[in-house]
């Protein structure tokens, strides 16, 4: 299968801080890839580089055959890459439905169609009952879900999810896992950052590990969790045998 997203030697420095170091990575169409690493490893920075929110210090990013590095964020979205924000950015005084319509308007110019399409997105995320709630009054967990809904609304081919399960109780995790699984099954390639290891191991067919901005490992969940470097850097003793 051909690569949908290719990173070639991507570098990002903030002044003296080297947040992303020489990361090369390829994601094939239809894959669902987990991106893990300790806090400060550069995961969010890497997402922001892909989505056009940071200028690269060096390197190139190719999406579907086209160079997208350093393109404006809105163009990268139009090309088919949607992201969520780890630190949520809701449209505070819009309702949930209106927020999602802002996304569906990308491919549906007229309001009734955009609304229909947004309602369908809300249904996929089990948020229909929240349609008329204002975004600012949602709990953090639901604001994160709204991030997913908005991103999905742009009908992306690649979805970048940044810790959308953070704050969920263990009982709530399976539902969102199902949602992500369905999104992927619907043909959307997914690259996701998550700290809940059990979740990563469940849905990712492939896991990439970032540590101090560097790519440390890349393989199946089983391979990665056996990798001694990964174990010492991040997973800790309790995951060594997972």
């Amino acid at each position: 299968m051909s690569a949908l997203l290719e990173l070639h030697h991507v570098e990002k420095r903030f002044g003296g801080l080297h947040a992303v170091k020489d990361v090369s990575l390829s994601v094939r169409a239809g894959e669902i890839v987990g991106l893990i690493g300790p806090n400060g490893a550069g995961k969010t920075t890497l997402f922001s580089c892909i989505a056009g929110y940071h200028r690269l210090t060096a390197g190139s990013i190719v999406f579907d055959g086209y160079e997208i590095a350093n393109h404006p964020a809105f163009k990268i979205c139009r090309a088919g890459v949607a992201r969520t924000f780890q630190v949520v950015k809701p449209f505070a005084r819009m309702t949930v439905l209106q927020s999602v319509m802002v996304g569906t308007f990308l491919h549906h110019r007229d309001t009734p169609t955009a609304r229909q399409s947004a309602l369908a997105v809300l249904e996929r995320l089990h948020m229909t009952h929240l349609a008329d709630v204002e975004a600012h009054s949602l709990t953090l967990v639901l604001k994160k879900r709204l991030e997913v809904a908005r991103a999905l609304a742009t009908e992306p081919r690649l979805l970048l999810l940044d810790e959308v399960m953070a704050g969920l109780s263990p009982g709530e995790v399976p539902e969102i896992l199902d949602v992500i699984h369905e999104i992927n099954a619907g043909g959307v390639t997914v690259l996701f950052v998550e700290h809940i290891m059990a979740a990563v191991m469940t849905i990712a067919k492939r896991v990439v590990v970032l540590h101090h901005g560097e790519l440390l490992a890349d393989g199946t969940p089983a391979e990665v969790s056996r990798d001694p470097q990964v174990v010492s850097a991040y997973l800790g003793e309790e995951y060594a045998g997972a």
Partner: protein
């Protein structure tokens, strides 16, 4: 009939026949001014309310409209109807230039940049005496005719202002329900998140600014034809602030808020000036300022939020809202 239908009918009737009730010149002047400032405030609201770009320079577009149509008329005898369109186009061009420079600026910096822009035009209008007659001001000879857009009766002016106002409100209503309106609000609420959904923030905000500038300039030309005199103080910061205050008091980012703000504040200013103005110097401004502060403190979402229940059956979850219906 539903309560809301009665409300709308009463409002339409009031707008159409209200000014006929009395031929008192002061009161008819109020009707014209409320419609006129309501129209300017509605134009400002597109960028200031929906897109969240607090412009304190709208007097610039207003003045460009007034000067363009008046100069074309007094110098070349071009009908002010056409002159107004020319003023609108010129205001759009200046908004394009100033917008490209300032729209990336956030919050107070955008406000200050727009304020400076109007101030520069004020200085230019004062100093380019050969063109604008400087601080002597522009006088348009009273020669009533349709072609000259000069009328003997205030009623004619009123219905023209009302037509402008209605077209602007209809435009706003339509925008608030369209993709463009959703995009403006999204950019106001969170620009980064809006860009992530494929919105070209610069282009969308620039478009709103151009439209707002065009509309504001049309009313500027109207003002010149109505007063038949104005001077460089038309570019004053106080005028820009006044334009912004109508929607702030009436309801930012709502369809009817700007008009409601004008309907309250315009008569209030005039009344205060005529009753208090001569007693203690500045007392009218003091009372006016106090009313504004109380309004902002106690009705932060604008008067539209208080009046909405009279016109809308189902209460909306929010007062500031893309679909603000009242």
């Amino acid at each position: 009939m539903k309560r809301s239908t009665y409300g709308w009918l009463a409002l339409a009737l009031l707008a159409l026949v209200g000014p006929l009730i009395t031929d008192n010149s002061f009161i008819r002047d109020m009707w014209v001014l409320v419609a006129m400032w309501g129209a300017v405030a509605t134009a400002w609201n597109l960028i200031g309310g929906y897109a969240g770009g607090l412009s304190l320079g709208h007097a610039a577009f207003f003045g460009i409209g007034a000067y363009t149509s008046s100069l074309l008329y007094t110098t070349f005898h071009i009908s002010p109807w056409l002159g107004a369109l020319a003023g609108g186009v010129l205001a759009m061009l200046s908004a394009l230039v100033i917008g490209l420079i300032t729209i990336r600026l956030r919050g107070p910096f955008f406000a200050l940049a727009t304020l400076a822009f109007a101030a520069i035009l004020g200085i230019a209008a004062t100093n380019l005496r050969w063109l604008t007659h400087g601080s002597e001001g522009m006088t348009i000879p009273f020669a009533p005719s349709m072609n000259n857009a000069i009328f003997a009766s205030k009623l004619d002016y009123y219905y023209i202002a009302l037509a402008l106002l209605m077209v602007f409100i209809a435009t706003t209503w339509w925008i608030a329900r369209s993709r463009f309106g959703y995009y403006l609000v999204a950019l106001r609420e969170n620009e980064d998140a809006a860009q992530a959904l494929g919105i070209d923030g610069l282009r969308v905000k620039l478009t709103a600014t151009l439209l707002s500038a065009f509309m504001t300039a049309l009313v500027g030309s109207f003002y010149a034809q109505y007063r038949l005199f104005f001077d460089p103080s038309i570019f004053a910061t106080s005028l820009s602030v006044q334009i912004a205050l109508f929607p702030i008091i009436g309801g930012l980012g709502t369809v009817w808020g700007p008009l409601i703000g004008a309907a309250i504040l315009v008569p209030l200013t005039a009344e205060l000036r005529s009753t208090l103005g001569s007693s203690v110097a500045g007392i009218d401004t003091f009372v006016y300022g106090t009313v504004l502060i109380l309004g902002i403190l106690f009705v932060p979402n604008g008067l539209v939020s208080v009046l909405r229940p009279l016109f809308v059956r189902r209460p909306r979850p929010a007062d500031q809202n893309v679909q603000a219906g009242t």
